[in-house]
């Protein structure tokens, strides 16, 4: 037997109110699984089970306030039947569930809409707590929650439970009339069930969903950039054969030594850094009628977040101080932390030039939008083997398109092409060692 006690929640806290049991007597519990909730001083806390086993008698009922360290229940280790230790009181739980819940939630006639819904929700709600999401889904789909079996912790009804409930044949769900005048348009409709329920379902021609904060910022930035800069895109074809050979030669070694794969991107980044050093105006920004030449080369790398959930451009600081290894390492690190939402603010600020690698999604070339307040962005198309004419013979070469979008206010066409030609030349005549 393990005693479950009211935990010590802080120096000044001498007692706590047990507000909710998440398990019933006789339930199996895992160690660390949420077992009950307590309330102390406007703080509600979920308390995990101290041991695995079967929950025995509850010594403290919901709503009772007890001293810290008071025993609130006991857990008998797995296998040991209740009552093994001659605990005479324990026989009850398993057989006889706690006070029978509401008399008859029978499957009889569809209930008339509850008369005065003065209470938060319909009274027939299950006792396990519900998340706002579940509540909202239930309300919007007119689901009677007492008919849904919860599979979550403590019999909680989860979003998945509702989704599978919605997919059941319609018969069981006699939808009461929808609430009169649902107020706002701002409430995003939760996913429309795949299987139409009966025919009462309104033919939904569209779904309204509020933009995420990130999406709003992306939208504002894109339009702002298009308005501010005079976008021009120039495209150069680059022979990547030398780089491809270099990469093929070192790929396995690189992966074995550093635990990450060697991609084309750090080669392009390295070449871009060389070109930025040669053409500092591409590494500049505009401030009114002044040109700001940045002494640092801070390279933004556009990262697509999972499932089209936005874009973020973390910055490789002092990219001119890094070789291919250093750049690859920085790219992998920033991209993975961007996707895990673990970037720090200064890691997405202060970029002076950006690279976007749409080639990784199969694009041959595209015309990217400038990341303000920068004045140019280099787009990298997919690298593929193509037949080309070399010395009047047809040869197979690895090739890609590099697209430079530049701000024509500051960068003339000729300069934009000179810059891109420099990137191309570094890549085609690659001479730096990788390992």
């Amino acid at each position: 037997m393990t005693d479950v006690v009211m935990p010590q929640m802080g120096e000044s806290i001498v007692e706590g109110t047990l507000t909710k049991w998440l398990k019933k007597p006789g339930d199996k519990v895992e160690r660390d699984e949420p077992l009950f909730e307590i309330s102390t001083d406007k703080v509600d806390t979920e308390i995990p089970s101290p041991a695995a086993g079967t929950l025995g008698e509850l010594l403290v009922q919901e709503g009772q306030t007890v001293q810290v360290n008071a025993i609130v229940a006991r857990i008998s280790e797995n296998g040991a039947a209740e009552g093994t230790r001659g605990d005479s009181r324990v026989s009850a739980p398993v057989v006889q569930a706690p006070p029978p819940p509401p008399p008859q939630p029978a499957a009889a006639a569809p209930p008339a809409p509850p008369p005065a819904p003065a209470v938060v929700e319909s009274p027939k709600e299950p006792s396990a707590p519900l998340s706002p999401l579940v509540r909202r889904m239930a309300r919007e789909n007119n689901i009677d929650l007492s008919k849904v079996a919860g599979t979550g912790a403590g019999g909680r009804i989860t979003k998945e439970d509702l989704e599978s409930f919605l997919k059941q044949p319609a018969s069981a769900a006699p939808a009461p009339p929808p609430p009169v005048s649902a107020p706002s348009v701002s409430v995003p409709a939760v996913s429309v069930p795949a299987v139409p329920i009966g025919q009462a379902q309104p033919t939904a021609r569209a779904r309204v969903e509020a933009m995420s904060n990130m999406r709003i910022k992306i939208a504002e930035h894109m339009v702002m950039s298009k308005r501010i800069s005079a976008h021009v895109t120039t495209v150069h074809r680059v022979d990547m054969t030398r780089v491809a050979k270099m990469r093929a030669k070192h790929k396995d070694d690189f992966a074995a030594r550093y635990g990450m794969s060697l991609t084309f991107l750090p080669f392009v980044a390295r070449a871009a850094v060389e070109a930025l050093s040669a053409f500092p105006i591409v590494n500049a920004s505009i401030d009114g009628t002044n040109i700001i030449y940045h002494n640092e080369i801070n390279l933004g790398i556009a990262v697509a977040l999972n499932n089209g959930n936005g874009l973020i451009v973390p910055v490789i600081r002092h990219a001119d101080e890094k070789n291919v290894l250093g750049l690859q390492r920085a790219i992998v690190d920033l991209a993975s932390r961007a996707r895990a939402r673990q970037l720090k603010p200064d890691e997405i600020q202060g970029g002076t030039f950006s690279i976007t690698n749409f080639g990784s999604f199969g694009s041959v070339f595209a015309t990217p939008i400038i990341n303000q307040p920068q004045v140019a962005i280099l787009g990298v198309g997919t690298v593929e083997k193509v037949p080309v004419v070399v010395d009047d013979a047809i040869a197979i070469r690895s090739q890609c398109y590099l697209a430079l979008t530049f701000d024509h206010r500051l960068i003339d066409g000729a300069l934009g092409d000179q810059f891109t030609a420099k990137v191309k030349s570094v890549l085609e005549n690659w001479s730096e060692e990788v390992l």
């Binding site: 929640m9 802080g10 120096e11 000044s12 806290i13 909710k20 909730e37 309330s39 102390t40 001083d41 406007k42 703080v43 509600d44 806390t45 979920e46 005065a116 819904p117 003065a118 209470v119 938060v120 929700e121 707590p129 998340s131 706002p132 999401l133 509540r135 909202r136 609430p179 009169v180 005048s181 649902a182 107020p183 706002s184 701002s186 409430v187 995003p188 509020a210 904060n213 990130m214 709003i216 910022k217 992306i218 930035h221 933004g300 556009a302 874009l311 973020i312 451009v313 895990a340 673990q342 720090k344 603010p345 200064d346 997405i348 600020q349 970029g351 976007t356 939008i369 400038i370 990341n371």
Partner: protein
């Protein structure tokens, strides 16, 4: 120094912000990510804490809906409260094991952040023993309600800056029959962003954080 990232979610529904909180909290419980302070402004919504007393809701749900007020049951501590425009709702999602394992200290520290912030704007606010929250002259200006799971906090506080206080008439705030007030009602007309900046500053001081503001960099 421990780090905390501040993120302003802007105007966002209670449910959507709840999901963002939950995602971050799950990560923190697994020992990943960093502590965050989320700011959000909710559209009109009344929330009932897990230990809320429905009788503190003074209007039927139907009436609230017609008034454009959403209704949620929340897993935070505390009773019934209202959120809406002009109110700074802040959700500190912190691993308290790295600070103090003490719910009392946590709530008192949040109160301190609010008291210090209000003092910056010339408002003398304080505590009332046994009634968590921040008070000016027996009126509540900021409400507090927190949820803890594995010592990771969610939910937090709501500070009335220019809140339309009439919306509180639908409820008995926090189950107490004391009036509510706002900075504006006390004659302080201030830009909400200035108040957030002060909150961030004092939050950093009280919790000993190095604060960074999240700015999304985008192409």
């Amino acid at each position: 120094m421990r780090e905390c990232v501040v993120e302003d979610l802007g105007r966002m529904s209670y449910g959507d912000a709840f999901e963002i909180q939950s995602r971050i909290a799950v990560e923190r419980k697994q020992g990943q990510g960093i502590d965050r302070l989320l700011f959000v402004e909710h559209p009109h919504v009344i929330t009932v804490g897990r230990n809320g007393h429905p009788e503190n809701l003074l209007a039927p749900e139907e009436t609230l809906r017609r008034a454009g007020i959403e209704l949620y049951e929340s897993d935070r501590g505390g009773d019934v409260t209202y959120h809406g425009p002009g109110q700074i709702v802040a959700y500190p999602i912190m691993d308290l094991r790295a600070w103090k394992r003490d719910v009392g200290a946590f709530v008192r520290a949040i109160e301190q952040v609010l008291i210090d912030t209000l003092a910056d704007f010339g408002i003398e606010a304080g505590r009332i023993a046994g009634m968590t929250g921040v008070w000016t002259n027996q009126a509540k200006i900021a409400a507090i309600g927190v949820h803890l799971s594995r010592w990771v906090s969610t939910h937090g506080w709501a500070l009335n800056v220019s809140t339309d206080l009439r919306y509180f008439e639908y409820i008995v705030p926090c189950g107490l029959t004391k009036p509510v007030t706002s900075m504006r009602a006390l004659g302080v007309h201030v830009d909400i962003e200035e108040v957030k900046a002060a909150l961030i500053r004092h939050f950093g001081e009280v919790f000993d954080f190095e604060i960074e503001r999240e700015i999304v960099g985008i192409i």
